[in-house]
Symmetry: C2
Subunit: 214 residues, 2 copies
DNA sequence: TAAAAAATACCTTTTACGGGGTATTTTAAT
DNA sequence: ATTAAAATACCCCGTAAAAGGTATTTTTTA
């Protein structure tokens, strides 16, 4: 069986050097290209046609997400492992949706790194422990946040206020519009946030639109 | 030509008495029903089958908007004139969309009231001066706010931040997620608001969704 | 290579919002 | 008629956000 051909992209040369030195020691892995930015990797990828592209997600120019999208679109058979400082769910979901087969943190130890590369080369996936936890929690939260038939509906007055919030009215202006006290508006807002378990009007409005309340 | 048959709904008896006494003096108008709430008017409307329903929009139980929707759905030929303390564009648009042929303020003088009733009975519409001004301004603002191809797009970083805002992240949390300073987040938010002429994140997010930026 | 744009970061002040409650009146439901 | 829910209004406090700027560095564009 041939060696696992891998290419690397990261804007930090030191990290590239470190990665490269680790990987070159492996009998079954060969590093076919090293790039300090996404554009360079993308420009050269049809020449290297690697099995795996290991990409830092935070690069200037073409970032890891954009690079992954492009790679998977043109070369779906090339697998991508994202490398990140972030443990933020937004980036994780973004890269997974873009088709990454793996997501590792930059502080991943060498052993896990190698395991991940081999698993992905073998057709599998590898996400750091924290990543899978976050994804599970995120999906769970999303499901409980999307259309929730059990959640108490908002009252007519609450929705009326929410519509004005959506129109960027301040509490004072809402109060003027509805001929009620600003305190009353504050209480309605507070009640809506509490009812729907949201932190702010942004989230609440999204909830209202998602549930066709507005 | 027959008299204009009209029915009235308002939760303030005094106002009903006043309206009724004015209208009964007119040779061409007859008051066929007087109700202190929307439900009562709705329940009786097929018995009265008036030409015009004059309805206060702020009533308990069935408010003027809901009442108008029901009336126009079941009896599209019955015309509705909304009567309101509000000069708020939300209610105005709401009632117009519900099919009201007129929108008057409660401080409208008798002369205008009669003119409105006659115009509407004649198949026309009648909106108080302030109403038409507000509607025009509102539509103009909406048009300039909806998909605006000339408006500068938001940058990649700005959109990244906006996505996190949409997820109810605080500035601090956004900063942590993106490994940048909270001040930087503040500046990006400020810049986006300024670019798109919005007052707050709520409006900006709506703009972003409307323009398919998110 | 130079210019422009984007990204970053900081400062101050003001305003608005969120979070913690309680209480009374009005309206709706039973 | 009674109870429950909704609507109203108030209080206090702390923090977040918005608004007003400026400045430097990095990246992108021409």
């Amino acid at each position: 069986m041939g060696k696992i051909k891998i290419i690397l992209a990261d804007d930090h040369q030191i990290l590239l050097d470190g990665l490269s030195s680790i990987l070159e020691l492996q009998e079954d892995i060969c590093v076919a290209g090293i790039y300090t930015n996404g554009l360079a990797m993308y420009a050269d990828i049809k020449n290297t046609m690697p099995c795996i592209a290991l990409v830092d997600i935070n690069m200037p120019g073409l970032n890891g997400h954009e690079l992954t999208l492009k790679i998977k679109k043109e070369f779906p058979e090339i697998k991508v492992i994202a490398l990140s400082m972030f443990d933020d769910i937004t980036h994780i979901m973004q890269l997974i949706k873009a088709g990454a087969s793996g997501y590792l943190f930059k502080n991943t130890n060498n052993d896990e790194l190698l395991k991940a590369i081999r698993a992905v080369a073998d057709g599998g996936t590898w996400f750091s422990a924290g990543v899978t936890d976050k994804v599970a929690a995120f999906i769970k939260a999303e499901k409980s946040r999307q259309y929730d038939p059990v959640a108490p509906a908002l009252t007519g007055r609450e929705l009326e206020i929410l519509k004005l919030v959506a129109m960027e009215y301040s509490n004072a202006k809402i109060a003027d519009s509805l001929f009620i006290s600003e305190r009353t508006v504050e209480t309605h807002r507070k009640n809506m946030l509490r009812k729907t378990n949201h932190k702010n009007m942004v989230g609440l409005l999204k909830y209202a639109f998602d549930n066709h309340l507005l």
